[in-house]
Symmetry: D2
Subunit: 258 residues, 4 copies
Amino acid sequence: MTRSGPPTIDLNADLGEGFGIWRLGDDEALLGVVTSANVACGFHAGDPVTMRRVCTAAVAAGVAVGAQVSYRDLAGFGRRFIDVPADELTADVLYQLAALDGIARSAGGGVGYVKPHGALYNAVVTHEQQARAVVEAVGAYDASLPVLGLPGSALLRIAGDAGLATVAEGFADRAYTAAGRLLPRSEPGAVIHGEAAVVERAVRMVTDGVVLAVDGTPVAVAVASVCVHGDTPGAVQLARAVRGALETAGVTVSAFAG
Amino acid sequence: MTRSGPPTIDLNADLGEGFGIWRLGDDEALLGVVTSANVACGFHAGDPVTMRRVCTAAVAAGVAVGAQVSYRDLAGFGRRFIDVPADELTADVLYQLAALDGIARSAGGGVGYVKPHGALYNAVVTHEQQARAVVEAVGAYDASLPVLGLPGSALLRIAGDAGLATVAEGFADRAYTAAGRLLPRSEPGAVIHGEAAVVERAVRMVTDGVVLAVDGTPVAVAVASVCVHGDTPGAVQLARAVRGALETAGVTVSAFAG
Amino acid sequence: MTRSGPPTIDLNADLGEGFGIWRLGDDEALLGVVTSANVACGFHAGDPVTMRRVCTAAVAAGVAVGAQVSYRDLAGFGRRFIDVPADELTADVLYQLAALDGIARSAGGGVGYVKPHGALYNAVVTHEQQARAVVEAVGAYDASLPVLGLPGSALLRIAGDAGLATVAEGFADRAYTAAGRLLPRSEPGAVIHGEAAVVERAVRMVTDGVVLAVDGTPVAVAVASVCVHGDTPGAVQLARAVRGALETAGVTVSAFAG
Amino acid sequence: MTRSGPPTIDLNADLGEGFGIWRLGDDEALLGVVTSANVACGFHAGDPVTMRRVCTAAVAAGVAVGAQVSYRDLAGFGRRFIDVPADELTADVLYQLAALDGIARSAGGGVGYVKPHGALYNAVVTHEQQARAVVEAVGAYDASLPVLGLPGSALLRIAGDAGLATVAEGFADRAYTAAGRLLPRSEPGAVIHGEAAVVERAVRMVTDGVVLAVDGTPVAVAVASVCVHGDTPGAVQLARAVRGALETAGVTVSAFAG
């Protein structure tokens, strides 16, 4: 893959994933690292006070706000597939997206993109009806909003067909198959450990458009955003290291969303 | 009280107060009677599918959509006072208002006003902090939105002080004290029964700006909207009778919200 | 199939499926018809006040109380499959079962059996892990409680293997395949309409152990309980007709649970 | 106040106050310190998996399990007063108590007492109707269960009048008024800081039955349990110090509940 000029990449992470008294992850620290914040909208996490606080902080930090929409599942943190009929899913996504956008606008910003969370993220890789339902919600709300998702997913294909902008993302800390798909978390070696390894993969993914698959073969991955995490000890430090290495390699780290 | 020209009045009712499989009231019938629909926003009632359906129907019927914001209380239908701190209440109202507005806009309309529901409605008659919290949410979202509430309430006073438009409403089926306040529901005679009595009170309230208090003294009530109900057998019929009598009396029934 | 002596059958129906202000079905009327009440436990329907009221009425009517356990899904009424991990499902079922049993005991009764609701009912026909999770919860709570479900289901097989009593149920208003399974609701003709047809099927199912499949072939169905419904207009009348016809045919209608 | 023989005291703390993915406090560490665990029952915190895990660990550690019942308020962590009608509160408490008891019994234990949480705890100090509602639930479920609460509260008085056993608790880290009531948290100095001060107060409260009020006057406080906390950094260490000092002072630390 050849590229002209210095590459640019977005770094995204999940933020605002507490609820009420409970906190998860270090939102403040992540806002100093990422360029896009996937903000929970109340269905798997994210009470309105948390949403307001994170939006205000993101606006202050110049970080783009994305709607991290999910199944209605506080008890399961949105990590359990729910067989929601399409019309219900469309309405649920529309509700979450509008709520976060209103809060973000009142904080001086606005939602800049949409990214499904957890089990919904995984479902819309292949589940045509749910992918279509998400796309319909975004189109109904604001057809200028890009959709962030997995390259090759039904979601990005259907979103593109519907005229929405799409943003493909990669994972520096996840193993890929030779076909360029994520190795399921249930497989051994699915998560890459070690700062050096993750950082190297992030840089190569962004500068060369290549990642080494589990069998060692180089796989082309064209991504406009790299997902980092902030919910485990050391995660923020790892995210910082990824960003630092990208910048050292001459990559411009900036948000894709206005 | 002197008025120039033929009087105009808005009729408002609560709609969309089901949740999931459950329905409450006859939304479709009410849309043929009222000019303003207070649509539940998901906290005391109103799942996103219901919200979408009601907004779509309201737009089709030319009925204004209002955000019927409430405490987070599905189990209690928002009828139980909750001592929510101001910042939480502001965020909760902002969330509900934004969610409904997004759904209404995607249906070709938009939220035209805000009316608190149930125990929150009663609380903000006197509870300064909660009234202020509601006003702050409306102002933060869209300072051009009017607030609908009880004449003489802290809510309308604080909203007016904050530069929001206010709309005072009356109740044709509720008894008033000589001081012009609603007789609490716990008091005998608090609810006026009988179509003829309710209709007569509605017409006099609108055309003369007067209602007879429980002790028989006429009380001045200046209202721009009359609240009717749709959740009991016969309620829709009563609402129709009120509207019919108002029109017969030469009153123009139309929404206050654009 | 030969039987000795007059046959006995249980009639079960779902009760207590309101939530807060919302009602569904006519619990009081159904208690005059059925011998077993599947009472919602709060996860798909059934707030604690409703649970108490239904248990008290069931005890007064001499109707057995069963725990109608379900996925945590008020918005979807438990009708959406949720891919809950086994340990979470076991804990969820245990929680619901214990809560209802405590309420039923405080009303002078107690839970007499367990029946999964909605999407969980359908899932445990074939989903081994979820079926095992339900069985584990029942065994952990009270291994003397029978499990009510579909003949041939994974649930009843695993429950039997675990030493639990099992109760097979039939549906007089649902079409069966020649293999003795329920025709999916998505198929045309899945629901049998017409009181005469439903009543005839109920009587033949109970007295002969036979039901006519959609292709007309007689299929053996050995059931100890017949499920009737109460959530649609005419449903209670249909349930009454089924019971009347069974009694006229010499069948004893009584609960299987003590 | 004279006492015969060496004093005995119970140490209680709130446990299981996470929900789903979220954790709060260090349950495992606290189980090594306290003799009674107030376990959240799902209404302000405590999903069924967490409840099971904490009950199993408490049984293994020989710690008594109490039902920490609360308002239905996950978003507010049960810290917001809710004006719940008495019959609803009774049913809510009964539901929570039964659910936890079933889970605890399936873990080889059982609920040994009931303690209201948060805003409900504060409400039932003076709110007669809500106190009565809680007492009614406990009596309806198991009249042999003691109720843990504030000395002088309406809850303990009404529970005693109803024939329930009552257990008065003290707070070593809270300031008392000269009248023996807790100084509201909104007042300066309401929380006692410093391990030495808290430990000294705990020992004197237990061995002498006396605590120094904010104005320096000694106040008699007869308590059978001391509440310690585990949700802040250093809290577990403080709890350990309190227990150590009590034991050094010759106090037997053991649960009041069987």
